[in-house]
């Protein structure tokens, strides 16, 4: 690519201004507001809010958060790696069907996942009561809450990271290295420990960090399942509700620091710890030979586990048909009806949260696409000082817990400022789409940048030598080539936004109540059928989007 086309023109200058304005106003400014509030909240400089960290309740919350996150990493690693191993090295009937079931938790908005567990193994969960009935023990033996509850839900939600990372690690693995080890006389255990695991370290570390960050940021699980367990995200929420802004801000900064450190470590690790052994030639991942008994045992437990993991979804869908008020003390609901869904169209009150969420998610997605594609274009194709810094700032929210982002936005926009065009955003329609956009922009930026990296520079050069202007090159060459990456990123942003709970619960106002908050209200009113109905709708939305995305990417590859 010629250096001339890398220069900033008036048009790209305007684009750059918009991106910098966004980064400064909606990422850095809220963080600045956090710092300011934590130090100056009571009118003068004071470190009082930070001293509270040493109060026993907060110390306990920090220790809980970190320990539970570490346990979640261990649990997810065990389950996810097990699945990855089984699906790579074993052949069994209906494998492709089961390999899709394994991905199910990806399709669940976090809140929905937690609620389904509540129905299954919560205080009067169906599964716990069935197990109690079968074994004759007390149901409390089979209910989980507190620490175990949170860890169980986390493992369910996050093992997919390990499954995906390790599967991809295994698929790139040189199967001959395992064969070489075997022919040098190593036992299977030795080959797995000394060769396979070390070669998978990059995948395992990557998945561990992401799981750790997600657990630290987790809100729904401790909120609904934790009982009296103190958790950092919950403490922030409680402080905010109690009007202790500066202590909420100080806590947010603590959590932010931990998460951002993890994020930078992840980045550093991914950049430095790659085994780039060029291995040309045909690579066979030969099945590590296993004894018959091992095979049967392993495959059976994989079947059992996968089926267990599909249970939450079945539960939610079933409960969405339960008649209001008909399910009290029985283990299973007794009467089913389609009314919950019909009501949706009869009572505007019920339809409203759904429409709100869709509308806000669309606004957020539109904004994210415009800004994300522009930013990715500028950073990948233009030379200007501070390029890398801008990239780091734009991707930062990926590592920031939703609670922290929400508190930052509240503190930043509860008074007029340059970035809110001199109005107060809190309490208006715009604050939630803004929060969704800030949280999800890194996703779209990543997928678009990956698209850019896949386009060879000679494509631009070809377009330029044909006399195409830069704007024309962008519209006619770059955008069409990037479209698949942009569309898949945008779809992800949309479904994340539509189901977003963490920031919604801190930011919503009654006039724009989103579906996730409404699910919670219905749950509180014990209208389980309606709560499950909304959850089912969210899942359907995810499925529809996933199916479309699949179709679309296949269609674009075919052309």
């Amino acid at each position: 690519m010629s250096s001339a086309s890398r220069r900033i023109t008036p048009i790209s200058g305007m684009m750059l201004f918009a991106v910098v304005f966004y980064a400064a106003g909606y990422i850095l400014f809220p963080m600045y507001a956090l710092v300011k509030e934590s130090l100056m909240g009571i009118g003068q400089l004071s470190f009082e809010p930070y001293r509270q960290f040493f109060r026993s309740s907060l110390l306990e919350a920090s220790i809980n958060s970190i320990s539970i996150s570490l346990l979640s990493v261990l649990g997810s690693a065990a389950v996810g790696t097990f699945f990855a191993y089984v699906f790579t090295f074993f052949e069994f009937p209906a494998k492709s069907f089961f390999s899709k079931l394994v991905l199910v938790p990806l399709a669940l908005p976090p809140l929905v996942g937690v609620i389904s567990f509540l129905f299954l193994v919560g205080e009067s969960g169906m599964l716990s009561r069935v197990l109690a009935l079968l074994s004759g023990a007390s149901p409390s033996l089979f209910t989980v809450n507190g620490w175990t509850g949170i860890v169980v839900v986390h493992v369910y939600s996050f093992y997919v990271y390990f499954y995906l990372f390790v599967s991809s690690g295994l698929s790139q693995l040189d199967g001959n290295a395992l064969d070489a080890s075997a022919s040098l006389g190593a036992t299977r255990a030795r080959t797995i420990l000394k060769i396979l695991l070390p070669m998978l370290t990059p995948s395992l570390v990557g998945a561990s960090l992401i799981t750790f960050m997600s657990s630290m940021a987790s809100f729904s699980a401790p909120f609904l399942f934790g009982g009296a367990t103190r958790y950092l995200t919950l403490e922030i929420y409680a402080a905010k509700l109690n009007g202790e802004s500066s202590s909420a801000a100080a806590l947010s900064i603590l959590l932010l620091t931990i998460s951002v450190c993890a994020l930078f470590f992840l980045r550093w690790w991914q950049a430095h710890k790659q085994y780039l052994l060029s291995s040309k030639g045909t690579i066979r991942v030969s099945a590590v030979p296993h004894g018959k008994l091992t095979r049967i045992l392993v495959i059976f437990s994989a079947f059992a586990l996968v089926s267990l993991f599909a249970l939450p979804i079945i539960t939610i869908v079933a409960i969405s048909f339960v008649k209001e008020g008909s399910w009290t003390y029985q283990i299973f609901p007794t009467s089913f009806t389609g009314k919950n869904y019909l009501h949706l169209f009869e009572e505007p009150r019920l339809l409203e949260p759904l429409l709100n969420s869709i509308c806000m998610a669309l606004v957020a997605t539109a904004g994210v696409v415009c800004l994300g594609v522009t930013a990715s274009y500028l950073i990948n194709r233009k030379h200007f000082p501070g390029r890398r810094l801008l990239e780091v700032i734009l991707s930062l929210p990926f590592g920031i817990p939703g609670t922290v982002i929400a508190v930052g936005l509240i503190l930043g926009f509860n008074r007029p400022s340059l970035f809110s065009f001199d109005s107060i955003l809190i309490g208006t329609f715009w604050i939630m789409p803004l929060a969704y956009a800030v949280r999800n922009l890194p996703l779209l930026y990543r997928s678009t940048t990956a698209g850019f990296e896949a386009i060879s520079p000679s494509v631009y050069e070809a377009a330029e030598t044909l006399g195409s202007s830069q704007v024309r090159t962008f519209r006619k060459v770059i955008v069409p080539l990037l479209l698949p990456s942009i569309v898949s990123g945008a779809l992800l942003v949309f479904i994340n936004s539509a189901g977003e709970f963490v920031s919604s619960i801190l930011l919503y106002s009654y006039s724009t109540k989103p579906i996730s908050v409404e699910i919670l209200s219905q749950l509180r009113l014990f209208d389980l059928g309606v709560a499950a109905m909304y959850s089912t709708l969210l899942m359907l939305m995810v499925l529809a989007v996933a199916a479309f995305s699949n179709r679309y990417s296949r269609a674009t590859i075919a052309t």
Binding site: D174, N176, A177, D179, A180, S181, A182, S183, L184, G185, A186, T187, R190, K194, I195, P198, M199, T201, Y275, L276, L277, S278, S279, K280, G281, T282, I283, S286, P289
Partner: protein
């Protein structure tokens, strides 16, 4: 040192028949090659010998004892893979020492042996380098050292040179041959490069579509191929039908199911007028010889003439007359 005997070995993957039942006998200390085009089942056969794949039928015997049911760990067979299959998270030393550690050898003995073998492959100064930092040729030598150091009974190579560039390939193959002589180990070497097989091997088995076509010394295969496949694969021989032989070259006595295999250097070109007329479609100068391609009866005939030969000089597009050395009597079976 050991002998290898394969009896009635075959392999099918689901519907695909990768190997038809075959017998092979490799002698003690022999350098034996499996040669054939891509997909003919060479790797599969090698993996069966090493125990990484089990045969659908037949027996593998090493030194007379039946090892068919033995796992690769217990066969004591060294393999060098096409992509080297080094352990990427280890240094050169750790890679080579791995097999010795498995055998629970004392540390001092391991060090002595590793350094000994690394000296032989000229890698002593790289002993503590992580393997991803090595060049392709160096990685290849580490792979050989790792396989040889455990003193396996037999050594297997799966196209070990195919990832190297031409010059390095020639150099490395000489190294492999030297090492094999020094250690005196029975070696089975897979390749699809006939030049490599001819240069290295004591004997060669030609494989095509999972069937052994012929086994013999390089000399036998080159000058006395049994069938058309071997003739054209090993010597790039031209194949002429019985009719063409009778009509144009005056060679009698071929049956309908036979072809005459004529090596490129056995074709004589002249500007005389004669019956066998062709047209030069390409001409390449390769130093010691000039290589002509001639359109003859719709067939592309290859003829190599020594470049010192001054009696004939044809240009692309001109007509030539073909004739054969009177001694050419190489009849081969049709496929």
């Amino acid at each position: 040192m050991a002998t290898v005997n394969l009896q009635n070995i075959s392999k099918t993957f689901g519907e695909v028949r990768a190997l038809s039942p075959l017998d092979l006998h490799v002698k003690e200390g022999e350098f034996f090659s499996l040669l054939g085009p891509s997909g003919c089942g060479k790797t599969t056969l090698l993996r069966i010998i090493s125990g990484l794949e089990s045969p659908s039928s037949g027996e593998v015997r090493i030194d007379g004892s039946n090892v068919t049911a033995l796992s690769p760990q217990r066969r004591n067979v060294g393999i060098v893979f096409q992509n080297y299959a080094l352990f990427p998270h280890m240094t050169v030393f750790q890679n080579v020492a791995y097999g010795l550690e498995v055998k629970k050898m004392p540390g001092s003995e391991i060090r002595r042996r590793v350094e000994d073998i690394l000296g032989k492959v000229h890698l002593l100064e790289k002993v503590n380098t992580p393997v991803p930092l090595l060049s392709g040729g160096e990685q290849q030598r580490v792979a050989v050292a790792r396989a040889v150091v455990v003193e396996p009974r037999i050594l297997l190579f799966d196209e070990p040179l195919s990832n190297l560039d031409h010059a390095l390939r020639i150099e490395t193959r000489a190294e492999i041959k030297r090492l094999q002589r020094e250690v005196g180990i029975t070696t089975i070497y897979v390749t699809h490069d006939q030049g490599e097989a001819l240069a290295l091997s004591d004997r060669i088995a030609i494989l095509s579509k999972g069937v052994v076509q012929q086994i013999g010394t390089p000399d036998e295969l080159y000058f006395h191929p049994h069938n058309a496949f071997t003739a054209s694969f090993i010597g790039h021989a031209n194949l002429f039908s019985a009719i063409a032989c009778r009509e144009y070259f005056g060679v009698q006595g071929l049956t309908e199911s036979e072809l005459l295999a004529v090596l490129p250097e056995e074709i004589i070109l002249s500007n005389n007028s004669g019956k066998a007329k062709g047209k030069i479609s390409n001409k390449e100068f390769s130093g010691s010889s000039v290589e002509y391609t001639i359109d003859f009866l719709g067939q592309s005939v290859k003829a190599h003439r020594p470049s010192s030969e001054k009696s004939f000089n044809g240009e692309i597009g001109s007509e030539v007359c073909l004739s054969l050395d009177a001694s050419v009597q190489r009849k081969v079976k049709y496929e």
